[in-house]
């Protein structure tokens, strides 16, 4: 790569709460590509995660397990409306109050109303990507309610006023030295490269916050319809603290997270932790089935579940796009993505980065704003190959590319903002290409002409020749060579 292309501006769009122009993908990608720290941090982390995943599945019939995972998710989605009703009934019977939110704003409002009703001023949070989708922290802070992240990665990202760069490891873009400097600057922690020391320091500060919090907000990994159980996977114990120490617990989740039966969780959990971090099981696995009962000594007085739609029911209407909703948020697709590994999570400028972000975000923000997301893939298929629930991510990327340019009259586009990328010039090129390649005589004439004048071919081919030489036209096409041979 030529060094003259060094870009000095920092990767834009990392700051939480600031409006990010998703369309500025190219500039952020360029900045990330030329940022050695970003490149090293991600390469190292992703190599490690890939190796751990491989090791964790050793001795397992991975393909059979993926079949099982995919089938569980497919069956859940096939009965989604009924399962959601069943879930609401069971949760209500268990004493958990259920709320429905059409979008992120409504979900934020519900959380705020609960806080206001309790006079709550301090919220402690467990990790939740849906709350990122809602931009809950900023919503609450703007209304005088403190919201503090308690997951270590999220805590770091919040200290830095950034957004997560990975859905499982939010601060993976930072190395230990960067984290130490940040903690030193923001919390007075001594500079150190001792991870244990830094963790202990964060733990100490968070412990106090847990004790004083009025409300705990968490995500949900699986919501079990038959039992009304909310399952929460975590490693730090902060999820258990968040959901048990404050007097009120509010869980937020997307409507697609429901599964029919408790036994469905076993296969999905086995897939989730191995695919995500290469762990056989996480340190904590919480199953929340209701508020504190009269004879119990601890647990919250109130438990709420906010079920967030935010575009999901629209995705649900399409038989192919529906597969997007199978996702169990393990992050394996980004760990294995050669594009994500090069540019990091912030380049995408979206709540969910990487392959899953590329197929999910266009539904949430529209294909107008998200126009570059489906194209930012070589369609190598690494994501689809590791997806624990077999989401055909490359096929969905191609579908979204088609939607971006309104490219299929047989299957009219339906994603919000479809057609935004269709340009007159590009459409004309493909029309001309199609004309020539569907007329064998014209094709042979054109390619024969190119071969005859191969010496005149241009040496520069735009973006292609920035990093490569141009492929050389052969003096005779294969068609011509075979014709001569058979003469």
């Amino acid at each position: 790569m030529s060094s003259s292309e060094t870009v000095s501006q920092p990767a834009a769009g990392v700051h939480a709460g600031h409006q990010v122009d998703v369309r500025d993908f190219h500039n952020r990608a360029r900045a990330a590509i030329h940022n050695p720290k970003i490149r090293q941090n991600f390469r190292k982390a992703m190599d490690g995660l890939m190796a751990k995943r491989t090791a964790a599945f050793e001795g397992w019939d991975l393909e059979a397990l993926r079949d099982l995972g995919a089938n569980i998710r497919l069956r859940a989605l096939a009965n989604l409306p009924d399962l959601l009703e069943q879930l609401e009934q069971k949760l209500t019977a268990n004493g958990i109050r259920v709320h429905w939110a059409v979008d992120g704003d409504e979900a934020c409002q519900i959380v705020r109303d609960i806080c206001v009703a309790r006079g709550a001023k301090r919220v402690i949070k467990g990790k939740s990507m849906v709350s990122e989708e809602m931009e809950l922290n900023h919503y609450l802070e703007a209304r005088g309610i403190e919201a503090l992240e308690s997951d270590l990665g999220e805590y770091i990202v919040q200290l830095a006023d950034e957004t997560p760069s990975h859905i499982i490891m939010p601060a993976i873009h930072k190395n230990t030295a960067e984290i130490s400097e940040l903690m030193h600057e923001k919390t007075g922690t001594d500079l150190s490269n001792d991870v244990e020391y830094l963790t202990a320091s964060a733990r100490q500060q968070l412990r106090e916050k847990f004790m004083n919090a009025d409300v705990g907000v968490s995500g949900v990994n699986f919501a079990v319809a038959e039992t009304g159980t909310l399952c929460l996977v975590e490693n730090e114990g902060n999820g258990r603290m968040t959901t048990t120490v404050p007097p009120c617990h509010i869980a937020v989740t997307g409507i697609e997270k429901v599964v029919p039966r408790l036994e469905d969780v076993t296969a999905l959990l086995a897939l989730l932790t191995r695919s995500a971090t290469g762990q056989h099981i996480t340190t904590y696995f919480n199953m929340i089935s209701g508020p504190r009962k009269e004879d119990e000594l601890d647990g919250p007085e109130e438990v709420h579940l906010v079920l967030v739609d935010n575009g999901r029911s629209s995705i649900y209407q399409d038989d192919q796009l529906l597969d997007t909703l199978r996702c169990i948020r393990c992050g394996a697709c980004m760990n294995h993505c050669p594009v994500y590994t090069r540019v990091g999570g912030h380049t995408y400028g979206t709540t969910y980065p990487g392959p899953i972000g590329k197929i999910l975000m266009p539904h949430l923000i529209g294909l107008d704003e998200g126009r570059h997301l489906p194209t930012a893939s070589s369609l190598c298929g690494a994501c689809g190959e590791v997806c624990p629930v077999r989401i055909p991510i490359p096929d969905l990327l191609v579908r979204l590319r088609q939607e971006s340019v309104d490219g299929d009259k047989l299957h009219p586009a339906r994603v919000p903002g479809h057609g935004a990328k269709r340009g007159r010039a590009e459409a004309m090129i493909w029309k001309g290409w199609s004309w020539m390649h569907s007329r064998p005589g014209a094709y042979r004439f054109g390619t024969g002409l190119a071969a005859r004048f191969h010496k005149l071919q241009p040496g520069q081919l735009g973006a292609w020749t920035r990093f490569r030489t141009a492929p050389k036209l052969a003096p005779k096409t294969l068609h011509e060579q075979l014709k001569e041979r058979n003469r």
Partner: protein, 259 residues
């Protein structure tokens, strides 16, 4: 959900050869090598003269109407039930995996599905249908192999190239880091996202060089023009060729015989 298990046909007397547009224009020697290897195995090779392009470039760019028009022009080229062999995992994947999707709910639905079931990547066909036995007549050398992502993941033939090279007694296959990682070609991706594609091909080249090879072979001409083109631009001593060209030359070309 999982791709159906491949059931290889018995070795046929004739095959259709689908040359692909990249080979037609830029790498006809790879196409000729493939044809000659098949002929040396005693198979008559039929090259339908009206073939152009499988339609993949438009398909992956989202222009499915245009892709369908071009693909439809290929569907009539294979009237007999002989296998269709393709010297590319990428074009083979398009025809085998995506033609049925592209023509679903059209009058070509059944024809497209029937043709898809007869498509074989050429090295896979040589190894697993022809049961080719290669006699290496070349000097000792070390090569790296890059299996394209479509050959690896759509056609499921990651083991085929190394197995064929393994038959060549004087060829050492260089062990590279992350062999399964994409070289960054991705068709129009290389043009739309040149920086990312450039970073990917640059790292791919580094892993091939670090593996101790000065030449590499690949299943697909897209990867070939990407990696070899980058090496040439960067001035790195690494040449590349299609695996079929390499196999044909190593086994003596015209003078070679079935062993």
């Amino acid at each position: 959900m999982v791709d159906p298990i491949r059931v290889y046909p018995a070795k046929p007397s004739k095959v259709y050869f689908y040359g692909t547009c990249l080979i037609d224009l830029f790498y006809p020697d790879a196409g000729m090598a493939g044809i000659r290897l098949l002929e040396r195995e005693g198979i008559e090779v039929i090259f339908p003269d009206d073939q152009t392009c499988c339609g993949q470039p438009a398909y992956t760019s989202g222009y499915h109407d245009e892709a369908r028009t071009v693909a439809a022009a290929q569907l009539g080229l294979f009237p007999q039930d002989w296998p269709i062999v393709v010297p590319s995992g990428s074009c083979g994947g398009m025809m085998r995996k995506h033609y049925p999707d592209l023509f679903r709910d059209t009058p070509f639905e059944n024809l497209a599905a029937e043709i898809a079931g007869r498509v074989w990547e050429l090295t896979d066909f040589l190894l697993n249908v022809c049961h080719i036995k290669l006699e290496d007549l070349g000097e000792p050398t070390t090569v790296a192999m890059h299996t394209s992502c479509s050959a690896r993941r759509e056609m499921g033939i990651a083991e085929v190239g190394p197995a064929l090279l393994g038959q060549l007694t004087n060829v050492t296959l260089a062990e590279q880091a992350r062999p399964e990682e994409c070289c960054g070609f991705g068709g129009t991706f290389a043009i739309r996202h040149p920086e990312i594609s450039g970073a990917m091909v640059s790292e791919k080249l580094t892993t091939l060089v670090d593996a101790g090879a000065r030449e590499f072979v690949t299943t697909d001409c897209g990867c070939l023009m990407n990696i070899a083109g980058h090496a040439e631009k960067a001035g790195t001593p690494m040449t590349g060729q299609h695996i079929l060209s390499f196999l044909w030359k190593r086994t003596g070309g015209e003078g070679g015989k079935r062993s």
